[in-house]
């Protein structure tokens, strides 16, 4: 198969899957099989591209050209490859988990759920492979819209209200800020293609800063404060969706876009020369710390994880804002490592909810013996996110710190330090509570009571991934290393 | 007499004003249509006023070769058409008013508005 065909196949597969799921909606077992098969096929297709990209190839696909040199086109470069592979792989895991979760909780509208999920993956792949900003924007919006039914899944008024916040912030920032930024970019550069070294070489420094601001806040999915509000709102979704949102598709699409814009639209050199990114270091650094502090105050487990995500995402934005080679490498790696860690944490939260219907951190006291596997996995995920070896998160923090030092940003270094400490406090607190605190009297069920098997399998896989990303990080490094040099 | 040389146009403007006022301000639908025909009539006057040539006569030749001074035929042609358009509009408007009266039992616009607001 030629690379072009592969791209087409990779994009079309989830759509076919969606149709298949819709058609087999009456037969749950068949439907779930379709989901899994599609996910598997997709993963194979996407991974088959990896060797070529690592070898320096840049598969392209031009769908159509519209007005004034704008086009719908795809081009796979290392960052997109990384994100695409991540999304495709985690879809399998997430599907396995979803099956357990959705059935375990007896959710309604399961067919709609899987269909939208497939479309969301399609959109995420589109974002990953986009060859220019316009294409990226289209898929970015498709992603927003296709996840709305997932967020509002429960359908009660409170959920719908939160889902509207989700949709409202994401759409309004993208149309109100991102689109103007694109148009401005087009007006200045005459193109929107992602080009190595950037396309905005001729723009003056202050304007560059403003433009960067439009992008940074316009890409609401990156959840930079103060446009992070949608993320906690989206917590009303079922847990697999939260996992999808936080770890795989949505937020990653956001930070991915930021990274991509910084590298391929602005260009690292252009940015550092103009110093236009300086303020973004401060804002993202501030977000990191502030979100961590907020996370500490949250008793609701998913809300705490949500703010943790806000904080972690800003690492990536910070990495981009540093605009140094190591910073970008670190940021790119963090996309993968954080994904693995955070998906584990969410899976665990979902497992706890499915098994015991507990949602608050304070209710988890002493449950370590009831759900030993789950809490063990939670510990793995938490440590990975904190950035301690032997888990994947260590590498990305390492490179981020390196990048901060390269850039001479002592503030950034300080932020990384402080936030790691805060991470320890608010994340490790949970397994500690579960394992070492005495349970509140009578609230602990007898014996071991874990979540359904598919959930556990999924959790196992992702925790394993956290370890694998530490010991087998070389391919990841090789891939991300291509970024700043490109 | 000089000041009267533009009198037609002033009358045109005043009639237009009167007609427009009736169209906009009146609530009775029939009255508004009457206002509309005054409004249109004013425009006829505008066109016809400009066709006059001092010492001329209506543009219908009295001799075969067409000698003589004649007023301008073109505005007359235009207004012939405009009059027809006017009566067509009026007829259609009246038909609508009659139907409105049948459906609502009144032709006062504010009463009708109240009725629609209720439904």
């Amino acid at each position: 198969m030629s690379p072009e065909t592969t791209i087409v196949a990779a994009l079309v597969t989830p759509l076919i899957g969606a149709v298949g799921i819709a058609l087999t909606g009456r037969l749950p077992n068949l439907r779930e099989s379709v989901t899994l098969v599609t996910a598997g096929v997709l993963a194979v297709l996407v991974w088959s591209l990896v060797p070529q990209v690592m070898a320096g190839a840049r598969p392209e696909l031009l769908v159509t050209t519209m007005l004034g040199g704008l086009s719908i086109a795809f081009e796979i470069e290392p960052l997109g490859m990384l994100f695409g592979a991540l999304a495709a792989s985690l879809w399998i895991v997430n599907s396995i988990y979803s099956i357990g979760y959705m059935r375990g909780n007896d959710e309604k509208h399961q067919t709609r759920f899987y269909v939208c999920f497939a479309i969301a993956i399609f959109a995420a792949l589109g974002v990953a492979f986009a060859g220019n900003l316009l294409t990226l924007f289209v898929f970015y919006e498709v992603l927003t819209i296709s996840t709305y039914p997932l967020v509002s899944h429960k359908g009660d008024p409170a959920t719908v209200r939160s889902a509207r916040v989700y949709l409202g912030i994401l759409l309004s920032t993208s149309i109100g800020l991102l689109l103007p930024a694109m148009i401005w970019t087009y007006a200045e550069a005459g193109t929107l293609d992602f080009t190595a070294g950037g396309i905005l070489g001729d723009v003056a420094g202050p304007a560059l800063g403003v433009l960067l601001g439009l992008y940074a806040f316009g890409i609401g999915k990156a959840a930079l404060m103060p446009v992070h509000r949608w993320l906690p709102s989206a917590m009303v979704a079922p847990t697999p969706v939260s996992a999808l949102l936080h770890a795989v598709a949505v937020v990653k699409a956001g930070v991915f876009t930021v990274l991509k814009v910084v590298v391929y639209v602005f260009g690292l050199d252009t940015l550092t020369e103009a110093g236009a990114q300086q303020w973004l270091v401060w804002v993202s650094g501030g977000t990191v710390v502030l979100a961590s502090l907020i996370a500490m105050t949250k008793d609701n487990l998913k809300a705490r994880l949500a703010y943790s995500t806000v904080s972690q995402l800003s690492y990536i934005v910070l990495g981009a804002a540093l605009a140094t080679a190591s910073g970008v490498i670190g940021a790119a790696m963090h996309i993968a490592t954080h994904a693995a860690g955070k998906i584990t944490l969410f899976f665990c939260a979902g497992a706890i909810y499915t098994a015991l219907h507990r949602t608050e951190v304070s209710e988890l006291r002493g449950l370590g013996r009831t759900m030993p596997f789950t809490f063990a996995a939670f510990t793995v995920g938490a440590i990975s996110i904190i950035g301690l070896p032997p888990f994947g998160g260590a590498w990305s923090k390492w490179f981020l710190t390196l990048g901060a030092l390269e850039a001479g940003e002592l503030f950034a270094v300080a932020v990384l330090m402080v936030s790691s400490l805060l991470n320890i406090v608010y994340l490790l607190q949970i397994p500690l509570l579960a394992f070492f605190r005495a349970p509140a009297s009578g609230s602990v069920p007898e014996g071991v009571q874990e979540a359904p098997l598919p959930c556990l399998i999924a959790i196992g896989i992702t925790s394993l991934l956290c370890v694998v990303l530490f010991f087998g990080a070389d391919p990841l490094y090789e891939l991300t290393r291509l970024l700043p040099s490109s | 007499m000089e000041f009267l040389a533009l009198y037609n146009y002033w009358v045109f403007a005043v009639l237009l004003l009167i007609g427009l006022y009736a169209v906009v301000a009146k609530v009775n639908l029939v009255k508004r249509l009457i206002g509309l025909s005054i409004f249109q009539g004013a425009v006829f006057l505008l066109y016809i006023s400009m066709d006059k040539v001092e010492g001329g006569t209506a543009p219908i030749f009295q001799t075969a070769d067409g000698a003589g001074v004649f007023s301008n035929p073109l505005p007359q042609v235009l207004i012939l058409t405009a009059i027809v358009v006017g009566i067509a509009t009026t007829a259609l408007g009246l038909a609508v008013v009659v139907r409105i009266r049948e459906e609502y039992g009144t032709v006062e616009e504010d009463v009708i508005e109240d009725m629609d607001a209720d439904s």
């Binding site: 719908i72 309004s172 | 425009v43 073109l74 358009v85 408007g93």
Partner: protein, 496 residues
Amino acid sequence: MNLDAHLPILQIIVPLMTAPVVSLLRVPSLPWAAATVTSGLAFAVAVTLTGQVLAGGPMSYALGGWVPPYGIELYVDHFSALLLLIITGASTVALAFGKASLDQEVGHERAPMFYAAWLLVVAGLCGIVATGDAFNLFVFLEISSLATYVLIASAPDRRALMATFRYLILGTVGATFYLIGVGLIYMMTGTLNLADMTDRIAEVGELRPVLVAAGFITVGLALKAAMFPLHAWMPNAYTFAPHAATAFLAACSTKAAIYVLIRFDLTVFLPHLSDHAEQVSGFFIPLAVLAFLIGSAVAVFERNLKRMLGYSSVAQIGYILLGLALLSPLALTGAIVHLFNHALMKSALFMAVACLAFRAGSVQLPDLAGCGRAMPLTMGAFVLAGLSMIGVPLTAGFVSKWYLILACLEYGPLGYVLAGGILVSSLLAVAYVWKVVEAAYFQPRPEGARELREAPPAMLAVLWLVALGNVWFGIDTDLTLGLAEQAAATLLGDGS
């Protein structure tokens, strides 16, 4: 007889002459069939004509063999060709689409008159666009207006009558204002031929009657075009007209007035009246901005689907006017393309609404809750066209907005504010389209509501044809942009 040379007149007389015949047909369904075939024929003429214009430049046709300015002239250039395509195309699809819906609303007894009036609207609008004579334009304006009143009044709801009456009054006032303007210009120039007028106005351009005439023509056409704040007649007229007729009228009836407005302001007045450029910009820019902001905002709060779309049209007309007011080739291209694209999206939206109304018997949003599951294809098309209206890339709406915003950015400091306004209005569009989507997909059917099923295949086929047209013209912009760029260049040729 060389048909090609006669194309401009055929464009008008094909629908015009068929109308009397249709009015005599008494066999059920025959009037509809005749009207549809005629409309299709007119579309074919428009396509051929466009082809000729693209190949050989503007066409002129002297009626009665009398050379202009003594006789009446038809003049078809790129701009008019585009409009002709819109008008005949919208009519054809709405007719092909609307048989079942119109049978339900208009009934067989009234059908001959109704379809005759429909053809007269088509002929009138084509006449407005094709003629090169200021007074002849008025005559066709009246044909199309009167026939439009008939179409609206044919709806079963009694409120349609009141809507018709208001439209009739305001439409006549608008047309009469236009007539006054033409009269004053004629008084100062002695000609009615637009091209001739343009030449001769140069000598008297500074005189007051001409300036006042410019004002009257602008206001009169603005009334006809439902330009903010003279749009009062429009939402109700659209709301209560028969659904399929709305799909047709919304797509093109105001467009013809806008066309004339652009023609007059840019080719007749702009080159010869000093300050006219400033006046146009100063007058239209604020109104355009208010139009799209207020139009969209009102639409957000509207629960009647058709009226919501009516207010959205107010907003869309605002965009077009903005394109005119900025007076740059880029902006004008955007405006002209938007004429086409808006026709495309609105006719799809109103057709979708017609499908909903056909099955649900109501266009109130609460009554339509949950219809997305029962009528997935209809709602799918609605969403597609809605995205186009928001201006999502890959749809037709994006193309025109893209041009407009680029033109704004080009315009200078104020342009940034204008671009911001457009974006805000787009966001509001997101809000009202989303409201419909949410009601359709995420709300349960109300208790005791009518059982829904998918609209008839014939309606769906046409609906999807147009909905996909929104995507097609969002991607393949050669035809629309080609015509629009040419038209903009010609219009501003010696003006800017």
